[in-house]
């Protein structure tokens, strides 16, 4: 017989967002909490992807300290251990169904299948990396092509050197960090290739990881074709024009034995799709309100499954908000679903989370812009708010805080966000 367990709150995912929400939920006097974790690479370790992120840059907001990934995760795990939470380690949640009273989660681990009936769920399943096919690189498929995260795990968890002569596709933060890691291990990073005319990662990473190690960053370049039979032998790249199309005659081949794909990450929404949560095409994550509740009542989302965060601190913060929302429900609160305020993306705004506001609580809004800009203003016209931004880039989320009093000034249920000079 399948074991059945009942919980008030079930958190799926033991990374930064999941750990932070479990801790917060534990602090908020919720009795029955479960945390389900299925680590991507190593045995029973909690912390999601953090254990392999051995570089600093974690926790500046959350702990007000600059930590490495493992340190950040470990601090959370230490706090978690003191709380009364059922942790399902090395357990995979493979199915989820929403009924009126309960959300039914099917989990499996080496002791069997457990059906979890939970009144609320926080989905903190994180993201997965885009692969070489999703970015349209053609050619052959020999050994020596890794995603950045794979390469990181190989080096920093398993101690395996993936290659000696490296080309990195994409200048997102993971790609930049990996460029430095390779350089530190004595590999030759031949180039980092970026399609856009600006780097995809944080400025501090461009400086500390590329410039300090003399690694060339080729902006406005596209990776076209992989060469090689058994092992990667090279990659063909070309310069692109303003519409991101390759320019004829600019093709050239860089010889290398390893290609690292760091072309962004996408939310892992498999479970949310199964319960029929509505998905936002700009974030690829679920549409949520200011309680971080998805379109399916009592199911919340936090961390990278909600929106790709550039800082772990924001993911943890979202985890806490989701935990507070779940506690609010368990303690008898109700989240109004009728006539929410809709956030409309205006000029230069690529995405904004949450997408809906109930207006009954203070909220953070996370915003990503379309292109780098200097000395511009963020306008929230409906509530007469204008925020000066000195320098913004697409790789850094803008986070603004709105009080419910401010939100209540919105008349026509629409909040326009735009960024103008």
């Amino acid at each position: 017989m399948v074991v059945e367990k009942k919980y008030d709150l079930t958190i799926i995912g033991g990374g930064a967002a999941g750990l932070a929400s479990a801790i917060r939920a534990g602090e908020l006097n919720m009795d029955r909490i479960a945390l389900i974790d299925s680590p991507p690479y190593v045995g029973k370790m909690l912390g999601g992807i953090l254990p392999q992120c051995i570089h600093p840059g974690f926790g500046l907001h959350y702990f007000k300290e600059d930590l490495t990934g493992p340190e950040f995760a470990y601090r959370l795990i230490e706090r978690l251990d003191k709380l009364d939470i059922d942790i399902f380690r090395d357990t995979y949640a493979y199915d989820m169904k929403a009924t009126k009273d309960y959300c039914k989660i099917m989990t499996v681990n080496s002791s069997g299948i457990t059906r979890i009936l939970s009144r609320t769920v926080i989905c903190a399943t994180g993201a997965r990396e885009r692969n070489i096919f999703e970015i349209g690189v053609v050619g052959s498929r020999p050994a020596g092509i890794f995603t950045a995260g794979e390469a990181q795990a190989l080096m920093d968890l398993f101690g395996v050197m993936p290659g000696r002569n490296i080309v990195i596709i994409g200048s997102g933060d993971i790609g930049l960090i990996m460029a430095r890691r390779f350089a530190l291990e004595g590999a030759n990073v031949k180039a980092v290739i970026e399609l856009m005319p600006w780097p995809g990662g944080l400025t501090r990473n461009v400086v500390q990881c590329l410039e300090d190690f003399n690694i060339p960053l080729l902006l406005s370049h596209i990776a076209l074709r992989v060469l090689g039979k058994n092992r990667v032998e090279g990659i063909e790249i070309a310069r692109v024009d303003e519409s991101l199309k390759p320019i004829d005659g600019t093709e050239k081949i860089i010889k290398c034995d390893t290609i690292i794909v760091s072309a962004g990450i996408v939310p892992r929404i498999d479970l949310l799709e199964k319960v029929g949560a509505l998905i936002d095409k700009t974030t690829n994550g679920p549409i949520v309100n200011d309680f971080l509740e998805t379109s399916v009542p009592n199911i919340f989302a936090a961390g990278n499954v909600l929106v790709i965060n550039d800082l772990v601190d924001y993911a943890a913060e979202q985890g806490e908000i989701a935990a507070e929302s779940a506690a609010y429900i368990i303690h008898g609160g109700r989240i109004p679903h009728k006539n929410p305020i809709k956030i409309v993306l205006g000029k230069n705004v690529r995405l904004a989370v949450p997408q809906l506001l109930t207006g009954i609580r203070d909220t953070y809004i996370y915003i990503r812009v379309k292109k780098p800009m200097k000395n511009v203003y963020l306008y929230l016209n409906e509530i007469d708010i204008k925020i000066k931004l000195i320098s913004i880039i697409p790789s850094e989320l803008i986070r603004i805080f709105l009080r419910k009093e401010e939100i209540s000034r919105i008349g026509n249920k629409i909040l326009n966000i735009s960024i103008l000079g």
């Binding site: 299925s38 002791s111 096919f133 053609v138 052959s140 020999p142 398993f158 050197m161 039979k229 799709e273």
Partner: protein, 591 residues
Amino acid sequence: MYNVNIVDKILSWRIGHILRNINYDIDFDVRDRIVFLNGRVKRYEDYIDIGLKIGSIKWVEGVVNNIIWNEKKKLEKKNTSKKYFLGEYDVIIIGAGIIGSMIARELSKYSLKIAVVERNPDVSQDVSKANNGLIHSGLEEKLGKKKTKLCVKGNKMYDKLAEELDIRFKRIGGLWLITPRSLPKIRDKVPEPLYLFILKFILPFIVKLKAIILRIPVRIIWNIDKIFKLNPYIVRDVIAAIYVPTIGIIEPYELAIALIENAVENGVKIFFETKVTGFRLKNNRIIGVETDKGVFKTRFVINSAGLYADDIAELAGTREYTIHPRKGTLILFDKSLSRYVNHELVEIELPRPERTKGGCINPTISNHILWGPTAIETPYKEDRSVSKEELVTIYRKFGKIVPNMPRKVIRYFAGTRPATFIEDFIIRPSKWVKGFIHVAGIQSPGLTAAPAIASLIIEILKKEGLELIPKRHFKPKRNAIKRFSMLSLEEREKLIKNNPKYGRIICFCELVSEAEIIEAINRMKMIGVKTITLEGIKFRTRAMMGRCQGSFCCLRILKMIARENNIPLWRNIFKKKPSEIGLGDIKIFLR
């Protein structure tokens, strides 16, 4: 003998006539209906065109195209290891693709000593792994070809085969759409009402007539609502459709693996990573096979070497054809789109573009969707690279059939077909060497025809003097690896209780457990695989085949292979040697 010479003379006359109209100076020779071409051309396309022109002449049974189109081919040096005697066998099969595996399994029903020699580390690696897995009806083939007959026959054999081997097989049926684009050549020449009349009332009956000749059940559907009910997302201007219920799908590598597992259980021996380097003949009769690992003694050789069948035949001194690789590219789409395609979908276009059936859209047995393949001539047998142009061609061509299907691509890949210039299968005993049997040029619909081809080979071997005594203890049944993803809740529970490793999910996208991966490794060892490759695990378990393409599970699987085989993680092989995953161990002193 007299007859043969007359045919050769007629052929010489016709070929001479054709070659006179070609800009190049091409010499030729005809021997026992086999045409040998010699000369020099400037472009590879000319090499192909001339070959196909000669191959299309009636009575030509093979074209050996020695025309040079670029610098002279470098001959690979082959080292025979004469030191080791690898055993005596009644039949040696060269190549463990679908065809070789099918023949091996068929022959294992008889009291014979059989060996399969494969140059790759695993089965189904070259031609057999990259195709769309369709079990064709035979209706799309030209009348009068050997492959058409074998395809129709093979199709009928799949239900039993799938049941015995425990592989996934589903007759999804094909829906061939007639649209205003179906007859482009007459579209502008006749008034529109007439054109529509032809499309609606004449074209379907032409197809139906062919089906009647081939005895393939089909149904013409004129009711548009019914067509949309079958496949709600297809193009709106469809005029009529032809439903072909016998079309099915399988996973080709799953079949090859199952066949070999079953053959091995019935006594067949497989020699992996063994390259044939020559043959031993006595009085023009095969007596042995030389390889880089040693020498076999044998009486019969089945040449099912796919892309390399011509090279192998050459080694035996009986080159009767040239294989010209024809590449096909396929695009695989995400599972979440499965509702967009319920059948094999084809937009009928007549006359058909040359050299290919034209590809289709079809669901796979694992609920993904495939578009393709294309058909591109390539001079390189190993060329399985994908080009941007081909992807664009596929999008343009098949995008018309399901216009609103989102393009959530999981991956694209290419395979090479072992095409011959006569555009038909070459299945017959060698004309010049006794005991050597060709099974060459098996391109599409080779997968469908495979069971019928194997039966045909049995007939041929019988005629050639091989004694076939049915084995009393032949075991026709083979059990597949139990897949967590395909089981009911109760079955899953039971499995985990017996083997907790069934509860550890390794591949998240395709829901593959640790137990399945270990079982795959063990089964690879069972059939004699020496190098456990990542690819081998992938094809046996579906791990790494989902939307993340292994970026999560690949490393855990590598760790498992390393553990089960006692090798360092970085020495794991991706596809074949040398393609190690890493280039070194930087923490060796911590271990």
